[in-house]
């Protein structure tokens, strides 16, 4: 590796200036840099996916299918779904912020397997590029679910290439999961017991479990589809003895837990942000911690609720319905505990907190409408309508992306060393909240009235609500564009951030510098206090034993 290039007398070494060549970024083993690399990739795919969403809402602004053909429309929502789910939501918080802060939070110098970490980023980028090529080169019209026979017997376009892309990003996700599991088990600093861990770490642990246990199943399923297409066998083709419903079972065995891969890290972020800006330990810490595990475990048993109308046995339906109601309980536990944390807390209305409060409002609506879909009787009426679309956007966009934005605004000073303009950030949060509700609340009503998903035209009488939705989408779009502008602006012109701008507890704020040292900690901390110890502001979270020569100057990473 290159030598230190930016070590001057005045400037401290940090993870950004320790080496600045392009190669030092592309070959980096530093979890913080890999987190930044992921952040860049994720932003790219979020942007591409948003363009497709804009096209969809533009088409639906008028009842007639006048902007694009139904074929093009199918391709648009497939691009939107594939990019947003596999290349944005699943890696979003774990791979970017998880990578950046998790080792700092537990007092480690890095993740357990830095090389695997870098490899996962390459898998992610190669997969993303392949999928994007497939989606642009003729596109695919299967929807993000790759349902057979749309993806096999009746497939058009580059399904195989897209599948290879998703397969690769799946293994990237597995690698991240394995890395974090081991990191959380073995890399905690002395004194960092399980119940002193920040709740973000608990959420990441539960997420990693799902990544390791669920993702391989969708990988083999997509591999089977690819083999079916290449060799003309019929595993999912009823004409040749196969069963397309089996595909759905295998697919949702991963893809329902995957929903929790997307939301659990967000819940972890919300725990951090709410504790910090309420200056209070998260109420019911143990319940919030274990509810993450409960979601991970029960989440594996509910996949059949995606298939209530496929003719699966009514008894299976009843069991899946019951279990789906059950999985709502841990989420409710979290929500009530967050509210109890804010209650009697000293609330500071900074931008990350505004996003977190937005999360609470939207996630509650998203979660509760999930129960309408979980009951067998109402599900028959609502299946494949805009009600479903509105429901999962409330959870995925209103929940996961709100949390993602909260995380971005919360850890931005630590990552970049700069503050962004608070008033602009609050305005953006408000725009996202208003724009989001305008976009998706009308869709609940449309769905209830029976408007089906995935059509590019609809009857005149649904025009007003659809127009409202499209108008809301443009506000939402601006709400996401605004942070892109002021965050980039802040990189150069923002106020220099101090070490702990929010007055938060936790190793990453109290001990790690802004910007962090390449090794995070020049000496390994010994943790003496639980997370969120706002009740004892005079007690440091960690102490340091007398200097030990072996540690000073660190190891080989500095060159």
């Amino acid at each position: 590796m290159a030598t230190i290039t930016a070590q001057t007398g005045t400037e401290r070494i940090n993870y950004l200036n320790v080496r600045t060549t392009v190669a030092s970024w592309l070959l980096t083993l530093d979890h913080k840099r890999i987190g930044i690399l992921y952040l860049l990739g994720i932003t790219l795919f979020f942007f591409l996916g948003s363009l497709a969403a804009a096209a969809i809402r533009l088409e639906l602004a008028t009842p007639k299918g006048d902007l694009m053909t139904s074929d093009t429309y199918n391709k648009m929502f497939t691009i939107h779904g594939v990019l947003m789910i596999f290349f944005f939501l699943i890696p979003s918080i774990p791979a970017s912020f998880g990578n950046f802060v998790l080792p700092m939070m537990i007092g480690a110098r890095d993740v357990a397997f830095p090389r695997l970490n870098l490899l996962s980023w390459y898998f992610y980028m190669i997969g993303g590029v392949l999928a994007t090529i497939a989606l642009l080169k003729g596109g695919i019209d299967t929807g993000w679910t790759f349902y057979t026979p749309y993806s096999s017997a009746f497939a058009k376009g580059e399904v195989s290439l897209a599948i290879v892309g998703v397969f690769l990003v799946g293994f990237s996700s597995i690698f991240t999961g394995i890395n974090f599991l081991v990191t959380i088990h073995k890399m905690r600093a002395p004194g960092m017991t399980w119940f002193r861990l920040p709740l973000f770490v608990w959420a990441m642990y539960a997420t990693s479990l799902i990544q390791v246990l669920g993702t391989p199943v969708v990988a083999i399923t997509l591999l089977l589809v690819a083999v079916e297409r290449t060799f003309g066998i019929g595993i999912f083709d009823p004409n040749r003895g196969g069963d397309p419903i089996l595909f759905q079972h295998l697919f949702w065995f991963y893809s329902h837990p995957a929903v929790y891969i997307m939301i659990l890290p967000g819940m972890g972020v919300i725990s951090e942000v709410i504790a910090t800006f309420s200056r209070r330990r998260v109420f019911g810490y143990h319940f919030v911690a274990f509810s993450s595990l409960a979601i991970a475990i029960i989440g594996f048993l509910v996949w059949g609720h995606h298939m209530f109308s496929t003719g699966q046995s009514i008894y299976a339906g009843i069991v899946f319905s019951f279990l789906t109601f059950l999985v709502a309980i841990p989420s409710a536990i979290k929500t009530f505990n967050w509210m109890a944390t804010i209650w009697k807390g000293r609330v500071h209305w900074e931008a990350p907190m505004i996003y977190a409060l937005g999360f609470l409002g939207l996630f509650v609506i998203g979660g509760l409408t999930g129960l309408h879909l979980a009951s067998l009787a109402t599900n028959v009426h609502l299946t494949d309508t805009y009600f479903v679309v509105a429901h999962f956007h409330y959870v995925m966009v209103g929940g996961a992306i709100m949390a993602y934005m909260a995380a971005l605004h919360y850890w931005w000073p630590k990552m970049t060393g700069r503050m962004y303009p608070q008033s602009w950030a609050k305005l953006a949060a408000l725009m996202v909240f208003v724009g989001f509700n305008l976009t998706f609340f009308p869709q609940f009503i449309l769905g209830y009235m029976g408007m089906p998903r995935r059509y590019h035209s609809y009857p005149e009488e649904w025009w007003a609500l659809n127009l409202l939705s499209s108008a809301g989408a443009s506000i939402l779009g601006l709400g996401y564009l605004l942070p892109a502008i002021y965050l980039v602006w802040s990189l150069k012109y923002g106020r220099i951030a101090e070490k702990n701008p929010w007055g938060a507890r936790g190793l990453e704020w109290e001990v790690v510098d802004t910007l962090p040292h390449p090794h995070n900690f020049e000496r390994t901390p010994i943790v003496t206090r639980p997370a969120y110890d706002y009740a004892h502001p005079e007690e440091p979270t960690a102490i340091f034993p007398a200097p030990r020569p072996a540690y000073v100057g660190g190891g080989g990473k500095d060159g």
Partner: protein, 254 residues
């Protein structure tokens, strides 16, 4: 988590002088534990990866029991049993290699790694013969697939385009489709397993070269963990076959 005392003791004894201690770790014990948990997590992931296939196979075997049983009779139990034996022996030599690595006996380790590669290769050669015999009988599940060999092998009667399976009759077209499904699973499952064996051979070869170089250079304390981890992987590949053999070759049904 490393206890404070453990970390202190370790530093007093070794400093950070263990050459293969990764800089993110405090002690060699922590690093070894991390490797072990990581490898097990990877193996769990592999179980789920194969699990999707096993589950699908079970579904179709249940659905098309008679066709699957008829098709499985064309597999050679002798070849399958031979391969099971070969892989079991390779697991033994792998375990010996791990033991030698722990005892820093580089030459013994090298020898046993070569034996493991040897048996793994025998397995692949056998697999090659099996696959090519399937090819000769047109049992490869592509466009040229034909169920004739299955019908001939099981002495099944075909009249008016209906195949007589004893308890029920199915049309030749259905019979062809369903037995083709069996061979699809046979080739995907054993193929994916074979791929794992091939990857194993490559990694074992790398380890063998390293062991030999350690022997030449008389390295006093080489890191035995890579060998132990590859050993875990190898036993896992072995166990997958232990499940594949009865499921595909042995299990009858009537």
């Amino acid at each position: 988590m490393v206890s404070v005392r453990e970390a202190e003791l370790h530093l007093i004894e070794h400093g950070r002088e263990v050459p293969h201690l990764g800089e993110q770790y405090e002690t060699i014990e922590q690093q070894n534990d991390a490797y072990t948990i990581g490898m097990w997590a990877f193996i769990v992931q592999e179980v789920l990866f194969f699990g999707g296939l096993f589950a699908s196979y079970a579904v179709y075997r249940f659905k098309y029991l008679y066709e699957f049983v008829a098709a499985h009779h064309t597999l050679s139990v002798v070849f399958g049993a031979l391969n099971t034996f070969v892989l079991l022996v390779s697991s033994y030599t792998m375990a010996r290699a791990v033991r030698a690595a722990m005892l820093q006996q580089h030459k013994t380790q090298f020898k046993y790694l070569l034996w493991t590669i040897f048996f793994a290769s025998i397995f692949m050669v056998n697999k090659y013969f099996e696959y090519s015999s399937k090819y000769h009988h047109q049992l490869i599940p592509n466009q040229s697939y034909s169920a004739e060999e299955v019908i001939h092998h099981n002495h099944l009667k075909v009249d008016n385009g209906m195949v007589d399976l004893g308890k029920r009759k199915v049309s030749l077209e259905e019979f062809t489709g369903r037995t083709k499904l069996f061979f699809s699973f046979y080739f995907i499952m054993t193929g994916l397993h074979g791929l794992h064996v091939l990857v194993g051979i490559i990694i074992l070869a790398i380890l063998a070269v390293r062991a030999y170089s350690d022997h030449i250079r008389r390295v006093p304390h080489a890191d035995y963990m890579p060998v132990e981890m590859v050993g875990l992987y190898w036993h896992f590949v072995d166990i997958v076959w232990i499940f594949l053999f009865p499921l595909l070759y042995l299990m009858g049904g009537q």
